[in-house]
């Protein structure tokens, strides 16, 4: 066992409660033969990240989960969420939330931006905890192998939109809708409430392109603020009930399908914000 694998195992044993360790053992995992899947996912590293993420989830962001029963217990599905923050804290919280609240436990495979593999440690680390680089072929492979995928269709414009545009969805990319329609995969809309205020960027350096990054956001605070988060999961969208799967290649159809997903996420955000206001009173 490599040093990294030993550290992951020790950390997983140290930070993950016994009950969650038992659940981790029941995760559907396509072992490619040496304890890793084809993309480098490693259950021990995932368990360690859940153990640490759980502390943030429970005690720092005090996440409240709503409607997690809409996440299919088995089979392929796509979680489509709003995006914000400087680092993908929202992605980490959704992954932890899905693992903790699904039965049997599921791993949400975050589809990451294409510049992430260029970043030392970050690319490898993200792969170990389940992230997959967001190419069409990788995404298709996951959909064909019963994986639960997590996408942020706003992409990097989502994290760069600034505080004044919080909870205003940017235009959605269409790739997830096209693949969902072609493969008959349900899309579960997800709204993350709280993330868009917790780590605000004051400006961004447009000329910063290290490792292929589109820009460098400059945060107002060194850490995200401990604002309570609410994660809302909506009813799964079956795109094939609205569109003909044979038209998945038609750019207008794919665009309309993505727009439908965007509307559902926007509705969920509106509901989530209203609920938060009621709770605040």
């Amino acid at each position: 066992m490599t040093l990294a694998a030993r550290i992951h195992r020790a950390l997983r044993r140290a930070v993950l409660p016994a009950r969650e360790q038992e659940r981790l053992g029941r995760v559907e995992f396509q072992d490619a033969g040496h304890g890793f899947d084809l993309f480098g996912f490693e259950p021990d590293a995932f368990g360690a990240s859940i153990g640490l993420g759980r502390l943030l989830h429970h005690y720092y962001f005090r996440v409240e989960s709503h409607g997690v029963e809409h996440v299919p217990a088995t089979g392929t599905a796509i979680l489509a969420a709003n995006h914000s923050g400087l680092l993908p804290v929202d992605a980490a919280l959704i992954v932890v939330d899905v693992f903790l609240h699904t039965e049997p436990p599921r791993v949400a495979r975050a589809i990451g931006d294409l510049f992430i593999p260029f970043m030392p440690w970050v690319g490898t680390g993200m792969n170990r905890v389940g992230m997959v680089s967001g190419t069409r072929e990788n995404f298709r492979y996951l959909l064909e192998h019963d994986e639960l995928c997590l996408v942020f269709p706003e992409g990097t414009p989502g994290i760069g939109k600034g505080f004044s545009k919080r909870y205003q969805l940017q235009s959605f990319r269409v790739g997830h809708a096209e693949l969902a329609l072609r493969h008959g995969v349900p899309i579960v809309p997800v709204a993350v409430i709280g993330a868009e205020e917790s780590w605000v960027s004051v400006t961004r350096i447009e000329r910063f392109h290290w490792f292929g990054a589109p820009f460098l956001p400059l945060p107002a605070t060194p850490f995200p603020l401990p604002i309570r988060h609410h994660i809302h999961y909506g009813q799964p969208i079956r795109l094939e009930r609205h569109f003909d799967a044979r038209d998945a290649d038609d750019p207008r159809v794919a665009s309309r399908a993505a727009e439908l997903v965007r509307e559902r996420v926007a509705e969920l955000i509106t509901q989530g914000l209203a609920l938060r206001r009621r709770h605040a009173r």
Partner: protein, 332 residues
């Protein structure tokens, strides 16, 4: 009864393939071809095995082989697996074997009276590893045609494309098998050479996924190809997919991560001092970014699935040490 011509027959892979064909009783004669004068001792004892020492870089010798013994024996399949195993030895003579001999063979197959199938063993090194593309490499992925590609890779790509251009245009079926790295001695494996050092260096901050192939699996893939009824390019993945650091560890070596820019000069110095064949410039992209072959086409059309994992020497040693309840004392 189909007969098989095996080029590069004196390599471990060629020998393994030759023996596998001989083990199948419904096969016809096997004509093994190598550069060495005495290639196969078994040829004297086995009625179906014939050996010829041929330099494939000479077009006349290749022509006479195909229209001489190959035609006389009624051989219908060529498995072209001859290539330079030492990547440091490149130049016109290596190009002549990799590219010109392949071109000559595939040209001659077209007008040959008995040959019906041409199987070319290519390599996963022909693919351009690009993290902006899929980690899982399909047959349709881009080849490494970049101007900075080393000569050894350019030769491989050119040979592969040379065979591709004949596909569907000749009477013979043409199959290209792009095999994952064969982790074995004397088959030109860069990873095998890399793992011969007690201390293996890798780039700091990167630990990509690798896929490696065993000799029995590549032999089986070639055997299936010799019976194929289709044309095509097929990826041949191995049964072992693991991070680079795990491969080093399973081989019983120590892995140290150092800053990437230092690796090329360090390995150059090491190569000049020790004569090792590992070249970091050939491997720097796959030492940074994951690249695993997608074998779904070979599974569907050839019925190939990897079933023989690598016998990792480090794992055997670790099991032995564990059994004794002791600690490991050093690499195997």
């Amino acid at each position: 009864m189909s007969g098989v011509l095996v080029t590069g027959a004196t390599t471990p892979l060629g020998r393994s393939l030759t023996r596998a064909v001989l083990d199948e009783p419904d096969r016809g004669p096997v004509l093994a071809v190598g550069l060495e004068e005495t290639g196969f001792a078994e040829a004297e004892h086995h009625a179906r095995l014939f050996y010829r020492s041929i330099d494939l870089r000479r077009p006349r010798d290749t022509h006479d082989l195909l229209f001489g013994p190959v035609r006389d024996l009624g051989i219908d399949t060529v498995v072209h697996a001859a290539f330079h195993r030492n990547v440091r030895d490149f130049g016109p003579h290596a190009h002549a074997l990799h590219v010109e001999a392949t071109r000559e063979l595939v040209d001659l197959v077209d007008r040959h009276p008995t040959l019906e199938r041409f199987v070319f063993l290519s390599s996963s090194s022909v693919y351009r590893i690009d993290p902006r593309r899929a980690s899982l490499i399909a047959e349709t992925d881009p080849l490494d045609l970049s101007p900075d590609a080393p000569a050894a890779v350019r030769d491989r790509v050119e040979a592969d494309l040379t065979v591709c251009t004949r596909m569907g245009l000749t009477n013979a079926r043409v199959l290209i098998l792009r095999a994952a790295e064969i982790l074995a001695e004397d088959v030109g494996s860069q990873l095998h050479d890399y793992l011969q050092s007690r201390l293996c260096l890798r780039p700091l901050g990167f630990d990509p996924m690798l896929n490696v192939l065993s000799l029995p699996d590549v032999t089986r893939a070639l055997m299936l190809a010799t019976r194929a009824t289709t044309n095509g390019v097929f990826n041949v993945p191995g049964a072992d997919t693991l991070p680079l650091s795990s491969a080093v560890e399973r081989y019983g070596r120590r892995c140290i991560a150092i800053p990437g820019p230092l690796l090329a000069p360090l390995y150059r110095v090491r190569a000049s001092m020790t004569g090792m064949e590992f070249r970091y410039d050939l491997n720097h992209r796959r030492f940074h970014f994951s690249a695993v072959l997608d074998g779904s086409r070979a599974k569907k059309l050839l019925g190939y699935e990897p079933t023989n994992p690598i016998a990792w020497p480090g794992s055997a040693r670790a099991a032995h040490v564990e059994k004794r309840g002791g600690r490991s004392a050093g690499p195997v």
